[in-house]
């Protein structure tokens, strides 16, 4: 029996497989296809202090082996989550992590405080990298100082495991990663989406209502892998790898690059059962390579 469990700060995962915020709903939408308790955990959709309607339709565009989205953090607000969603999730035997967003530091803090009060939520993922909201979001995540400020403020207010989701739309992601590590983050997750654009050449119009949006899917994997590799060498806190992970092989690649856990995102749209399949692949891989623990894979790239 191989050991697949990993630790992210104080967070114990039975295996490294998580889901990316905004691609797995509140988990329940996928319960017909995946035994949620089989996952290391899942990260529920971006939650803000107050309800948000998000951006106008169209919010998505297909690109070569990728997609753009411009949802803009549509959600009913943290209180609605606490009252209506949390009760349906609290008895699951897996880690339910809330992705927390905000337009200003005060909102981030207030939202994180409300989530902290929910016993069965062991961690939050702080989204300082959403490219689809006018204020806040990515603005915080592309400068080390503003990134550190929001993380420091939330750190004071949030005692449990604090994962900070980083933007890839920067010159040097290691600089941002070190800044948030210094500000008290327990872990960094990367990458959030790359800012992209799609055009209808016949209509001569942008496809998204917001003109630009966040790119995800297999197409971004090489960039994500590179950034995870760079950041894993730059910080001491565990790294959660995200970006185009579609197969078990992809997951192994991110672990080898230095990720202690991974998030499956867009692939959930192609195959809603994919997360369970990736959990199985990792176990089989360890057996096939005579490894006793997934720890032997993390950062084990031979260079």
């Amino acid at each position: 029996m191989v050991k697949t469990n990993v630790k992210i700060g104080g967070l114990e995962l039975k295996n490294p497989v998580l889901t990316a915020s905004g691609t797995f709903g509140y988990g329940l939408e996928f319960a017909d296809f995946v035994d949620l308790d089989k996952l290391g955990g899942f990260i529920v959709k971006g939650t803000t202090l107050n309800a948000r309607e998000g951006n106008p339709y169209p919010r998505s565009a297909e690109t070569p082996l990728g997609m753009l989205n411009a949802v803009g953090l549509q959600n009913k607000g943290v209180e609605y989550f606490a009252q209506n969603i949390y009760p349906q999730l609290k008895d699951l035997d897996t880690n339910v992590i809330v992705n927390v967003s905000g337009a200003c530091i005060e909102d981030y803090v207030a939202c994180a405080e409300r989530v902290a009060a929910l016993d069965k939520i062991p961690a939050i993922e702080l989204n300082i990298s959403c490219p689809n909201v006018k204020q806040g979001g990515m603005a915080f995540g592309v400068q080390p100082q503003s990134a550190a400020e929001v993380v420091a403020a939330v750190r004071k207010a949030y005692p449990k495991t604090l994962i900070v989701k980083l933007s890839p739309n920067v010159t040097d992601i290691t600089e941002i990663a070190r800044a948030v590590e210094g500000a008290g983050a327990d872990s960094v997750s990367l990458i959030n989406t790359l800012l992209g654009m799609a055009i209808d050449s016949e209509k001569r119009r942008p496809i998204l209502s917001t003109i630009t949006g966040g790119m995800s899917g297999p197409a971004v994997k090489p960039i994500a892998l590179r950034m995870v590799w760079q950041v894993a060498k730059a910080v001491k806190i565990p790294v959660v790898g995200i970006g185009g992970i579609t197969t078990g092989k992809d997951a192994i690649e991110f672990l080898l690059a230095g990720a202690s856990a991974i998030e499956v995102g867009t692939a959930n749209f192609m195959n809603p059962a994919v997360t369970g399949e990736i959990v199985d692949y990792i176990e089989d891989y360890l057996v096939r390579h005579n490894m006793s623990s997934v720890d032997e894979l993390i950062g084990a790239l031979q260079v």
Partner: protein, 255 residues
């Protein structure tokens, strides 16, 4: 309602015209019960350029034969790939999705089904159900031209069907909303087709005070209410066409 993810087997491919095929599929296991107006997400990522599943409305569903039919109009690489499949091929299908049409309680009610082009696809399954239930209904289908009207014999086998074509090649010339059938009295309207057509039908229904349901076709990713990409701006804000819809009462829509 429980959703299924299965590799269905194509048992028949019927080319309806150059750009439209009817795929009939089955499975070794019993297909889940599907309601008229529901849809499925068909996996197409064997194609080099397309990654996301294609949402296709359920055209026909026969529990006794364990068969389900999808009318596929080729619009891009994904649907082109679907249309290129042959008998015996398998397609990974996620179903049933969405709410489906509301079936009338009052069996005395007179129902009108208004479809546009390939958008009439789900109305076939609805009409089949209405026949079973003994409802009184008429079908009105509009298209650009006669060649854009699909499955006429099959529709006509279910009841009265009227047509409009923009070029007058079949039925009355013009748009569905100009058809003389609309002079008759109806208690409820179901519509599916191009948005401009459905908006015109909705306008007509509002004027006459007839309750009306429209089936929307917004661009989707997950089909499960997770990605929030396919939202329609309703009277209650942004709602997912894939889970809150695809069928909405026009009272909920900001048309």
């Amino acid at each position: 309602m429980k959703k299924y993810l299965a590799d269905l087997t194509i048992i028949e491919v019927q080319k309806l015209n150059a750009s439209c095929v009817l795929l009939t599929m089955t499975d070794d296991k019993a297909l889940p019960q599907c309601r008229p107006g529901q849809f499925a997400e068909l996996r197409v990522d064997e194609t080099p350029t397309v990654m996301l599943r294609r949402p296709i409305s359920i055209h026909s569903f026969d529990a006794s034969k364990n068969e389900i039919g999808f009318l596929v109009q080729v619009v891009g690489d994904g649907t082109r790939w679907l249309a290129s499949l042959a008998k015996g091929d398998k397609v990974n299908v996620l179903l049933p999705l969405g709410n489906g049409f509301t079936l009338p309680e009052d069996n005395g009610a007179r129902l009108l089904l208004v479809g546009g082009g390939v958008g009439s696809a789900p109305l076939y399954g609805l009409a089949q159900e209405l026949v079973k239930r003994g409802n009184d209904f008429a079908i009105l289908i509009g298209a650009r031209s006669e060649k854009d009207l699909y499955r006429r014999t099959e529709f006509e086998a279910l009841g009265r069907v009227e047509y409009t074509t923009e070029d007058g090649s079949l039925g009355e010339k013009g748009y569905v909303t100009n058809h003389s059938l609309l002079n008759e009295k109806f208690d409820y309207i179901y519509t599916c087709g191009p948005k401009p057509m459905m908006m015109a039908v909705a306008k007509y229904a509002r004027e006459k005070g007839i309750p009306c349901e429209a089936s929307l076709e917004n661009k989707m990713a997950c089909g499960l209410g997770a990605c929030l990409c396919c939202v329609e701006d309703t009277t209650e804000g942004h709602r997912c066409v894939c889970t809150d819809g695809p069928v909405f009462s026009i009272e909920e829509l900001k048309w």
